[in-house]
């Protein structure tokens, strides 16, 4: 599903963000990308979303070689992925419902399909009662779930969550990851970028650790048998 082949990224400022990164993420996986800030996580995401192209190496997402992908084909690539941002990026003047519907409208969905799909997704993330609320009336965790609903609504093959727990309290963090886990069980590939090692330890999942632009560890995390503390 996602393959990095000796990918390096050097920004024009001279920053070496990624250095010879090679990895494969299969369809249906649940993967954490862990690293401290400045490790190259954001660059990793930007490369997958094709906001940036690699300086060298090759990136393949859904059998598409991204560095060769034409600009006008980029939207189609992005429709295969749902992005959840750390800062939620909800539109303040729109209700929860409208925020989610907006993502469907943006890809030209029919009103009838929107009417059917949005309530279903809101229920999935447990926000069916907040549809008419505005983002400012919600807690951090709820806002993050709206962002997740928006990422899910177009039925992407993978969900990419950038620090999904960065702006919510620890208890909520756990719930959000649980929710992502649920979504993964339905067959969606989930990629979570985070700097919180604690969170990762609570789940039995593959964890790719990046440091200074290099993959330093790629292993299955074994959930502690008792009391998975967050």
């Amino acid at each position: 599903m996602i393959e990095f082949r000796n990918v390096s990224k050097v920004y024009h400022t001279g920053t070496h963000a990624l250095n010879q990164v090679s990895l494969i993420i299969e369809k249906g996986e649940f993967v954490f990308i862990v690293g401290s800030s400045g490790a190259g996580k954001s660059t990793f995401l930007k490369l997958i979303m094709r906001e940036e192209t690699p300086t060298s190496g090759s990136i393949i997402v859904n059998d598409i070689q991204l560095e060769k992908l034409k600009r006008r084909k980029v939207p189609m690539l992005r429709r295969s992925m749902g992005i959840v941002f750390q800062d939620f990026r909800l539109i303040d003047k729109m209700t929860v419902y409208e925020n989610v519907a907006f993502a469907m409208r943006a890809v030209g969905a029919r009103p009838r399909a929107i009417k059917k799909r949005v309530p279903y997704i809101l229920e999935l993330v447990g926000l069916e009662n907040k549809a008419e609320n505005y983002p400012s009336e919600l807690s951090g965790g709820e806002q993050q779930r709206v962002a997740l609903a928006r990422a899910l609504v177009n039925n992407p093959q993978m969900i990419i969550a950038d620090e999904p727990t960065g702006n919510v309290d620890p208890e909520m963090s756990y719930e959000i990851i649980e929710l992502l886990h649920e979504i993964n069980k339905r067959g969606t590939t989930v990629l979570i970028v985070t700097h919180e090692h604690n969170l990762v330890h609570s789940f039995n999942s593959r964890c790719i650790t990046i440091d200074k632009g290099v993959v330093v560890e790629d292993a299955m995390e074994i959930k502690p048998s008792e009391g998975g503390q967050v």
Binding site: K46, M49, E51, E52, R72, P75, M76, L77, R78, R79, S80, G82, I83, R89, I91, F102, A103, R105, A106, V107, G108, A109, R110, P111, R150, A151, N154
Partner: protein
């Protein structure tokens, strides 16, 4: 894209005009001024062309006879002129008829002194030539006829008018070009501000995979609507302004003006069309650059 999707985009574009109404009003105002000026320039140019065509289109040359030529003699002279090669038609204009042309522009007591014995005008013959290319030679032959005093050279007037026409056309062209550029710039600035105000939405649209066309349409709709509103308003204003402008032009140079009703439809279509095209151009100009930006760069973070 389905129809409902397009409807949504159109609505978004028009909504945006209201959301940024101060900026929209400002651009409509500037656009109206530009369209009025370009419209006035075009109409002036059109009128001059029309006048030149009318004058240039007549190949009638007035031949003045000597003052001492009497009525009977004048008739013989007319016959002589008629026989000249290239002359197809002649029409005798007696001094009594000629003076009548001045009746309106003169005070009554002065005019009264000029009729009859006091008439300062000579008899004349209006000559229609077949081929204006042979004008010089024909005039030469006419001048040879006994009793012919002078020939009024209409070509000179036509030439002067043609050069005036060229001047007016050139000026109009530059005025129109400059003001069109100003208008495109104004619209593009307005749209850029709208895009800036909506950069957050654009970034989300792009992240979920909206195509460039999809992102672009509301802004183009906005630009075109601003253009159309300006065009319609200008068309209405022009009806009232045309007379005022043309009257002031006429006070400088007197010539027959086009009746506004003759050109109203054409002018209105041109205004609205120009407004819409300028609006579309202006928006596309700012969108193109904006759409190339990605993620945080787009948001300016």
């Amino acid at each position: 894209m389905n129809l409902s999707g397009l409807g949504y985009l159109l609505k978004e574009g028009i909504k945006s005009i209201w959301t940024n109404r101060m900026m929209s009003i400002a651009s409509v105002g500037v656009l109206i001024s530009c369209l009025l000026l370009t419209g006035a320039a075009s109409l002036l140019s059109l009128n001059v062309s029309n006048a030149v065509d009318k004058i240039g289109g007549t190949n009638v040359t007035r031949v003045f006879l000597s003052m001492d030529v009497l009525d009977d003699e004048a008739r013989y002279i007319e016959e002589d002129i008629k026989r000249i090669d290239n002359v197809v038609k002649t029409e005798f204009v007696s001094k009594d008829e000629a003076i009548k042309d001045y009746q309106e522009s003169l005070r009554e007591d002065i005019f009264n002194q000029l009729i009859g014995e006091g008439n300062p005008l000579p008899h004349a013959v209006d000559v229609t030539m077949e081929d204006l290319a042979q004008y010089d030679r024909t005039v030469e032959n006419i001048m040879k006829v006994q009793g012919v005093e002078s020939v009024r050279d209409t070509r000179e007037i036509a030439e002067k008018l043609t050069s005036l026409q060229k001047l007016v056309n050139t000026m109009s062209f530059w005025i129109i070009l400059a003001l069109t550029l100003v208008s495109v710039f104004i619209i593009s600035n307005t749209i850029r501000m709208t895009m800036y105000a909506r950069r957050f939405e654009i970034s989300i649209m792009k992240s979920v995979g909206a195509t460039d066309t999809f992102v672009r349409i509301p802004f183009i709709v906005e630009g075109m609507t601003i253009g159309a509103i300006s065009g319609i308003t200008t068309s209405v204003l022009m009806v009232f302004l045309y007379d005022a402008i043309m009257k002031s032009v006429q006070s400088i140079a007197k010539f027959e003006l086009l009746n506004y009703s003759e050109v109203a439809v054409f002018v209105s279509i041109a205004f609205v069309g120009a407004g819409v095209i300028i609006g579309a151009l202006g928006s596309m100009l700012s969108i193109g650059r904006y759409l190339r930006k990605e993620g945080n760069e787009l948001l300016g973070w």
